[in-house]
């Protein structure tokens, strides 16, 4: 399959997923709104891997679920290969979902413990009527098992008979069954042991090449994301704060949050660590999305925060080709200090 990188497969415009909270005696009173995803726009090109990173509560998983309409978006438009997913009725949505599948984080919780592997993997074939007869069904499942590195004669076993890494392979085989174009991977390796993570990452890379898949790769581990993704989008409290190519993000992170996130990740090399020092400037935790800060959601933890940050929400704007940042430091219209200060500050810290 050709992978023309300018061909947009998934287009998400101003996606919002808000959850209403209910309280009161019979839960009839609305007591608040959690804006889990609050105006997120991005595009994924055919054949590429877009990484979605951020800490817990940033809305990365909800974005994935919103794209698939596994939670109903409050607003916004999701287009898959020209089809407006958000406008489909349930029958049409089911048909469209064949083309977008999901791989989950928890290989223990995601598989029905009472189903045989044969039926777990074969279920999408059944739903989308993608087999001729029983023999064909079995043959397809056996092919899939083999493709993900499992022995086809394991098809009659149950999930508990497999290790975590093997279960994740089963989950991947199930996602592949319907021959999708887009796979949303939600923390696919974070529950696995280190030695098994690499096996699964390599498998995901192999099947992407073989089937020409497009990935939306949701994870909190920046090293894993850098390894597998072409472009990366950083989220914070329901907002996109930075989007760019993988190398640009790691070599030149621009948003103060991205910078802090990078410095927080230890490198497995004591000499590098000793050289690198550690940026202690990021204090506190991600605020509750129930009561998000005004203006820029990052301002209470940001050491560059100035008055504009407290009141105005920064817009996502291009700073370099293909590099977008939502920060007043880079916005000449809104800023009373400028990006030069950040650069200078970084130099001081590095030197």
């Amino acid at each position: 399959m050709s992978t023309n990188h300018n061909d947009v497969l998934l287009d998400v415009q101003d996606l919002k997923v808000h959850f209403k909270l209910h309280g009161g005696l019979f839960g009839q009173k609305q007591t608040g709104t959690v804006k889990a995803v609050d105006g997120v726009s991005f595009q994924v090109r055919r054949g590429e891997t877009l990484g979605l990173v951020g800490e817990s509560g940033c809305g990365k998983s909800t974005t994935g679920l919103g794209v698939l309409r596994m939670v109903e978006p409050t607003a916004g438009k999701v287009t898959l290969d020209g089809i407006d997913i958000t406008a489909l009725n349930s029958a049409a949505l089911r048909k469209a979902r064949r083309r977008m599948q999901m791989v989950y984080q928890d290989p223990f919780g995601a598989l029905d413990p009472r189903m045989r592997v044969l039926d777990i993997i074969g279920e999408p074939l059944l739903i989308h009527k993608m087999f001729k007869d029983k023999k064909d069904y079995k043959a397809q499942v056996h092919d899939l098992l083999e493709r993900v590195g499992l022995n086809p004669n394991m098809a009659d076993r149950y999930p508990h008979q497999f290790s975590g890494g093997q279960r994740q392979r089963i989950g991947i085989a199930r996602a592949l069954a319907a021959r999708p174009e887009l796979i949303i991977c939600d923390e696919p390796v974070s529950a696995l042991d280190v030695s098994i993570q690499a096996q699964v990452i390599n498998l995901l890379e192999d099947i992407q090449e073989e089937f020409g898949l497009t990935y939306l790769f949701i994870a909190h581990d920046l090293a894993v994301v850098r390894h597998i993704c072409d472009r990366i989008m950083v989220m914070y409290l329901g907002h996109v704060v930075e989007v760019t190519d993988r190398d640009a993000l790691y070599e030149n992170p621009q948003h103060p949050y991205t910078q802090a996130l990078m410095s927080a990740i230890p490198i497995p090399d004591p000499e590098e660590e000793a050289k690198r020092g550690f940026d202690r400037s990021l204090q506190g935790e991600v605020p509750s999305p129930l009561n998000p800060p005004s203006g820029c959601p990052f301002h209470p933890r940001c050491r560059f925060a100035h008055d504009a940050c407290k009141t105005q929400k920064p817009r996502l704007m291009e700073t370099d080709t293909g590099h977008q940042v939502a920060c007043h430091l880079y916005d000449p219209a809104a800023s009373d200090i400028n990006a030069g200060d950040v650069m200078e500050d970084n130099l001081v810290r590095a030197g």
Binding site: E55, S56, S163, G165, Q166, D193, V194, S195, I196, Q197, A198, Q199, I201, N202, E205, H220, L222, A223, V224, R226, H227, I228, R246, D247, Y250, A260, L261, M262, S263, A264, I265, P266, I267, P268, D269, P270, E271, E272, E273, F278, R280, L282, Q283, E285, V286
Partner: protein, 342 residues
Amino acid sequence: MLAEETHRHDHAEPETQQEVLLRVSGLKTQFRQDGRTVTAVDGVSFDVRRGETLAIVGESGSGKSVTAMSILRLIPSPPGEIVDGEVLFDGKDMLGLSDEEIRKMRGSEIAMIFQEPMTSMNPVLTIGRQLSEPIQVHRGGDRKSLLAKCVDLLRKVRIPDPENRVKAYPHQLSGGMRQRAMIAMGLGCDPRLIIADEPTTALDVTVQAQILELLKDLTRERGTSMILITHDLGVVARYADRINVMYAGRIVEQGSSGDIFKHPKHPYTLGLMSSIPRLDQPSGTRLTPITGQPPDLSNLPSGCPFHPRCRFAEDRCRAERPPLTQVSDQHWKACWIDVNKP
């Protein structure tokens, strides 16, 4: 056991000698379940010196947590039992102490910090109450002085507004704050050894960094020794002085942080290093995973338990279990193969 015998001699070296606080020798802990015996820790020996941070690295089932629990005799029995070995803390034989005596050691001399602060804390007691209990038990004191001490501890772990937070319940604190409160509980009686079992695994990276920096500062300040149990090699590189790598209940490699990261000698350690993507290396290089699955402890392979996954394995590895042998001054490995041989 031969390997442990030679190990002892290592500490006679005058230049590198540092006072040993904890000495674990030949520790063996088993669990019995459904008529089967699983050896979770199988002949583990190591020292923790005063003021140093020793990391125990391994994957699930490697025996790293059971090793820590055995030191404090927190193994639930039955089904668990420490069947062999010796644990000397400052010369005192921990395994020979009465229940009363070991209770006195826990929390006062050796403190443990667990992974999940929500389940390790009592949800119906205030933070202050939980903080003051061990201090009262081990050190005594009246209500007022205990409260002052608690506020002081919360301030030390940089919890904002400590005067009010002592009255809070665990659910009223965020994950990071709860973990800070756990650390405050551990520090309450000025222990000489802290055992931190995956202290930040449940936390976000930016919070993880804050908590680990805090632990580093506090242990440095007080000269406290620490055993840091983790699966995260990055955390190890940043915080450990020395490292034990465990696999299937055994230490397979032991050495300084520099030795282990720069000159890994065991194929398992090598495998771990090449299977993780790193921020400081060129992107897009293919990972080299360790093949196969972690072993089933109730049905371990013969010889070296790593041999079915080892790309260097020879006949000898399948037949004989390699002892921990010295590679260089402070560096030990349990492997028959010279991985540097071309």
